[in-house]
């Protein structure tokens, strides 16, 4: 049978107990720091946003409110701080909170809170969270010493800091009201404190109100309200979307929601339910669930509020020893997962500590010496690159300050969609207005378009634009400079040369220019490789793929081989056995492991059809074949009986059917077998070995002329992939000489021209 013990509502512990609480909870802090480091890795030299420099845009008006600290010369550099410092601040804040929860609510809740807050850590909310923590400190201080005359000034100081350094002034004020007003209303506080606090409160709020009337502060104060009422355009600012608004929420959001539910559980199950806790939970749950942007902060506020209550049930059935064991177990599990994550292949920590191969962190647009507006395609991620300096040099046309620009988002989102889909010229829209980006951007004259590097569709279409040239790519953003801007001319040339050098190796190919391509981690390198493939530079993509293979990098590898297959097919009318075999084998393997997303599967289905591989595509992705597809592409089932032995093995190879192809080899003419064997082994050995095998087979001279010419072409392709200019030129030239009338000629000539121009 469970028994519950109840503590009085107001904390009656002595000051020394309270002071005990302010000791740094090292264990909790370390644990939180470990989670943050594992799931939000960055380089030690990296910067974290403390005060966002948002709002200073082309569309901003003189009365708009900006964070004052970012406007003053000597404080603006604190807008971002060193990553390790941010981790320390974050872990301190979360550690204190977890300790307080463990002491008052229970270890389980504390661990849930610690994991969710650290896993979903948001550095741009850090200052606000610290201010909320400070408010809590003032409350506890006041409770422990009701004669304290500094409470009022401290409260005013906190609000003043909030006004000076953050945009979330109203969150701080709201928390203040929820925390203090009910407590004052209970009337058991000393008159002196009530007067001081009340006067402080009234004074602060009057100041805020006056400031709101006189400046644009009013809109900033209403940020939480406008966050839940501004129409959402997920393609532009997904963070404004309700947590359950667009499909399945992220894991971070689910964990934070779980923490909120835990708060509600404790609030409901407690016998005494203070108004403070209920009000706080109600308002912050509303805010957090209706606007993903505020979820983390809402959970922090809810937990802080919950940690002030004393009405907590404790299960007496659980022994102290068992609780301790649970704590140790949970700590070890979290630490174990984090250490595994940290030491995993390709992580920053591993690179930094063990391999010492740290690449340039980010592209620095300031080096381009240009100056002009930037058009951000994704306001959630792309504004991360805008620190104080870049904002001055490249002021964004609009940014994520929905309180200032919320009413412009609809048109801006339509404009960015036009850019992503390359709709330059005028067209008529369903809302009876005209679209087309050319005439819309005329007034803003943007110099830069900044796309999220993960948005490969947009990058693919933008790369075909006559108005924008890709000038740089890193793990975060892809930059397109205005084609006609003379200040970008040099960068456009450098970028073009870098991309071509990656695609077509020269005799002495320099490493990629760091001001054009910058990847910090293998994951970023994979993403950049994906973007390279999206702009139809598959060899460049393969060169950029990290050695250690993740699922994502295998996907990009498959897409690159598919792109190469298309290149051969479109330019010769023939199928590249080598590329199609490798692409289809990888696609098959990943499909067997169910690694392809729905969107990718759908795209692959269409893509494979274009290579005349309908039966294979339908077999691999049957659930994506619609009736309409079926009618449009009636399955022309392969009639194997009509195929020659050689035709059959070619079909098996193109379909990535390794087993059938291996069996079929036995039925071939012995002089033909080595050719197909080497294709079959193309994924089983390193590229250098594959090239050697191909070369020695050519040297043996037993192959029929046509197969020899084809093999030399493949050898040239593999040499390009390896980056061996000499072998590539030699092999392609020989292939051309042996069989100049072959259908491969146009592509061989193109390849040779490209290689010789390097």
């Amino acid at each position: 049978m469970n028994h519950t013990t109840h503590r009085p509502t107001v904390d009656s512990r002595k000051p020394e107990d309270v002071r005990q609480r302010y000791k740094i909870p090292i264990r909790w802090c370390l644990l939180s720091g470990l989670v943050i480091l594992s799931f939000h890795p960055s380089l030690p030299s990296g910067r974290s946003i403390l005060m966002p420099t948002t709002g200073q845009t082309i569309l901003s008006e003189p009365g708009d409110w900006h964070i004052p600290a970012t406007q003053i010369e000597w404080t603006r550099n604190w807008g971002s701080i060193a990553y390790p410092l941010m981790v320390c601040l974050g872990s301190l804040c979360i550690g204190f909170l977890a300790q307080s929860l463990a002491a008052r609510i229970g270890t389980g809740t504390a661990i849930i809170a610690l994991i969710s807050l650290s896993y979903g850590f948001e550095d741009w909310h850090m200052l606000t969270a610290l201010l909320l923590l400070a408010l809590l400190y003032v409350l506890l201080r006041a409770r422990s010493d009701t004669q304290d005359k500094f409470v009022g000034p401290l409260l005013i100081l906190i609000v003043a800091i909030a006004v000076f350094t953050t945009l979330e002034i109203s969150i701080v004020c709201l928390f203040w009201i929820i925390l203090f007003i009910p407590w004052w209303l209970t009337g058991d506080s000393q008159r002196r404190f009530v007067q001081s606090g009340f006067l402080g409160t009234v004074g602060s709020f009057l100041l805020l109100f006056t400031g709101g009337m006189a400046t644009g502060l009013w809109k900033t104060l209403l940020r939480p309200w406008s966050a839940v009422t501004t129409p959402v355009y997920p393609e532009l600012l997904d963070s404004l979307t309700p947590v359950f608004g667009s499909g399945v929420p992220t894991l971070e959001h689910m964990m934070l929601v779980l923490t909120l539910l835990t708060c509600w559980y404790h609030a409901i199950s407690g016998i005494d339910r203070p108004l403070t806790v209920v009000t706080c939970l109600f308002l912050f749950t509303l805010l957090g669930l209706l606007c993903g942007y505020y979820l983390w902060l809402s959970v922090v506020a809810s937990l802080l509020c919950l940690s002030t209550t004393s009405s907590i049930e404790e299960r007496s059935g659980i022994s102290i020893k068992r609780v301790k064991m649970m704590r140790v177990g949970a700590t070890l599990s979290i630490a174990g997962v984090c250490l595994l994550k940290l030491s995993g292949p390709g992580t920053i920590v591993r690179q930094y500590l063990f391999e010492g191969t740290l690449a340039v962190h980010r592209i620095d647009p300031l080096e381009w010496k240009s100056e002009g507006p930037a058009l951000l395609l994704d306001l959630d991620r792309c504004s991360e690159w805008l620190d104080v300096q870049t904002t001055e040099q490249y002021p964004p046309v609009i940014d994520n300050r929905w309180d200032l620009y919320g009413q412009d988002y609809a048109e801006y989102a339509a404009l960015t969609r036009d850019l992503k889909e390359m709709r330059a010229l005028l067209y008529f829209r369903t809302d009876q207005n005209f679209g087309g980006y050319l005439h819309r951007i005329k007034d803003w004259k943007p110099l830069l378009v900044v796309a999220d590097t993960a948005e490969q569709d947009a990058i693919r279409d933008l790369s075909l634009s006559p108005h924008w040239k890709m000038i740089g790519i890193d793990g975060q953003a892809t930059y397109f400079g205005h084609a006609d801007d003379p200040t970008f001319r040099q960068q456009v040339q450098t970028a073009g040369r870098t991309f071509l050098n990656l695609e077509w190796p020269g005799p002495q190919t320099p490493p990629p220019a760091p001001q054009v391509i910058a990847a910090s981690t293998p994951a970023e390198a994979t993403q950049i490789a994906g973007a390279m493939n999206s702009i139809r530079l598959p060899y460049a993509a393969l060169h950029l793929l990290p050695v250690e293979q993740s699922i994502e990098s295998r996907k990009i590898q498959a897409w690159s081989y598919l792109e190469l297959s298309y290149r051969v097919h479109r330019n010769t009318g023939q199928h590249s056995l080598l590329d199609e075999y490798r692409a289809l084998t990888l696609i098959r393997n990943l499909a067997a492991q169910k690694r392809w997303t729905s969107r990718e599967s759908e795209r692959l289905l269409v893509s494979l059809r274009g290579l005349e591989l309908e039966p294979v595509a339908e077999q691999l992705f049957p659930s994506f074949v619609t009736e309409k597809d079926f009618e449009a592409n009636p399955p022309e089932r392969t009639d194997y009986s009509e195929m020659s032995e050689e035709g059959l093995i070619r079909f098996y190879l193109r379909a990535g059917n390794t087993v059938a192809a291996r069996d079929q080899i036995e039925h071939l003419d012995p002089t033909h077998r080595p050719f197909y064997s080497v294709i079959l082994s193309s994924l089983d050995q390193p590229l250098e070995e594959l090239a050697k095998s191909m070369y020695s087979l050519v040297e043996q001279g037993n192959l029929p002329l046509e197969l020899r010419s084809e093999l030399l072409f493949y050898l040239g392709c593999v040499a390009i992939e390896v980056g061996d200019h000499a072998v590539a030129v030699q092999a392609l030239t020989q292939s051309q000489q042996i069989d100049p009338q072959s259908g491969l000629t146009p592509l061989r000539i193109t390849y040779l021209q490209q290689l010789q121009s390097q």
Partner: protein, 365 residues
């Protein structure tokens, strides 16, 4: 607090979240009208009520501006071309069977094929065939066939914009490659519905030709309400909006670089609205739009769009206060003020930049 609060508070919280969450549901962006595959009425239903407008509409250039390559008129021309293809290019052959039309070019021992899918152009000026080429992302690029048929000469010649010399690429002997955005642009001006699915053009649902609903919008609601739901755009369109609507395909001045908009630039002549808005007639006549002279519901041959009745509305010799031709002419205004300009070797366009002729300019005159 009392003991009954949990259900009440939770219910209020839940209802508020649901209500506000619904209001905050992600807003769909306005789409290109022709890209939306819904709310379209059956195109035949327009003729049920709008006899006058539809009687001759199918004969207009707009209606015939895009056809399947296997359309009888297209096939007739291609069959004619088949007879003379080897005279134009000895490596070129055309195979026409019931299922497909394939043009081939022989280079050495290799044969390069292109299947022709669509025929662009109404035939008023020319007709050009294209084939579509899938790419690895499931989109389609376009190969514009090297040979076009011209109305002016009733013969085949090199397609405007293509080089007289054949290139060395795989398709170079057969045509020019247009990437996906360009291809999308071609189709968007030659069709009424061009649905996009996950960014890909759905050619199965394409409605070829510029027909009623391209200009009047999807009319399913109008048909279902038996005409009660009326269209909003044309009734409220300003002078500029009206021209912009035509300029969607015939181009507007804002699409051009300012330095390109000069009277001597023949490229501008192709883009009639660009020239029109530069004209003093446009600037001084708040009602002058494309439809002042052109009736889009009838073929040009049936209209008196090149007469003087439009000009005399403002330049009437019977009216003392009207400005009249300083050369003393009272008819045939277009010959001097809207001359035909040879833009391509086989195609002339009417210059819509209505202005005092500059007889020293060879290009315009």
């Amino acid at each position: 607090m009392g003991q009954r609060w949990p259900p009440v508070v939770l219910a209020v919280l839940l209802i508020t979240i649901i209500l506000l969450g619904r209001a905050k549901h992600p807003h769909p962006l306005p789409e290109p009208q022709l890209g939306r595959a819904r709310l379209w009425a059956d195109s035949d239903s327009c003729a049920d009520c709008h006899f006058e407008q539809t009687e001759f509409f199918l004969q207009t250039g707009h209606a015939r501006t895009l056809q399947s390559a296997s359309d009888p008129e297209s096939l007739r021309l291609l069959k004619e071309f088949r007879q003379v293809a080897s005279e134009k290019d000895e490596a070129l052959t055309i195979d026409i069977d019931q299922q497909e039309i394939v043009v081939s070019s022989t280079v050495g021992s290799s044969i390069r094929d292109l299947e022709l899918d669509w025929c662009f152009g109404s035939g008023t000026h020319a007709r050009t065939w294209v084939g579509t080429l899938p790419d690895s992302w499931g989109e389609r690029d376009l190969i514009e066939f090297r040979w076009s048929w011209y109305h002016e000469t009733d013969d085949f010649d090199i397609t405007p914009g293509q080089s007289l010399q054949k290139g060395t690429g795989y398709f170079a002997a057969l045509g020019t490659l247009f990437d996906t955005p360009k291809a999308r642009r071609c189709f968007s001006c030659h069709s009424t519905v061009l649905p996009q699915n996950e960014g890909r053009t759905d050619f199965q649902e394409l409605h070829s030709g510029v027909t009623c609903q391209r200009c009047h919008g999807p009319r399913q609601a109008h048909v279902e309400s038996e005409g009660e739901i009326q269209e909003g755009f044309w009734a409220a369109a300003s002078q500029l909006e009206s021209i912009q609507r035509c300029g969607e395909c015939h181009r507007i001045a804002e699409d051009q670089k300012p330095e390109e908009i000069t009277p001597g630039n023949p490229d501008i002549v192709r883009f009639q609205p660009v020239g029109l808005v530069q004209s003093p007639c446009f600037k001084n006549s708040p009602q002058l739009t494309c439809v002042t002279c052109h009736n889009p519901h009838q073929p040009l041959s049936m209209q008196n769009s090149s007469g003087i009745w439009q000009c005399v509305q403002c330049h009437d010799p019977q009216q003392d206060h009207h400005v009249l031709c300083s050369a003393g002419h009272r008819d045939n205004c277009l010959e001097c003020h809207m001359p035909k300009v040879q833009v391509f070797e086989n195609i002339q366009f009417t210059d819509h930049w209505i202005r005092m002729p500059d007889f020293s300019s060879e290009t315009v005159n």
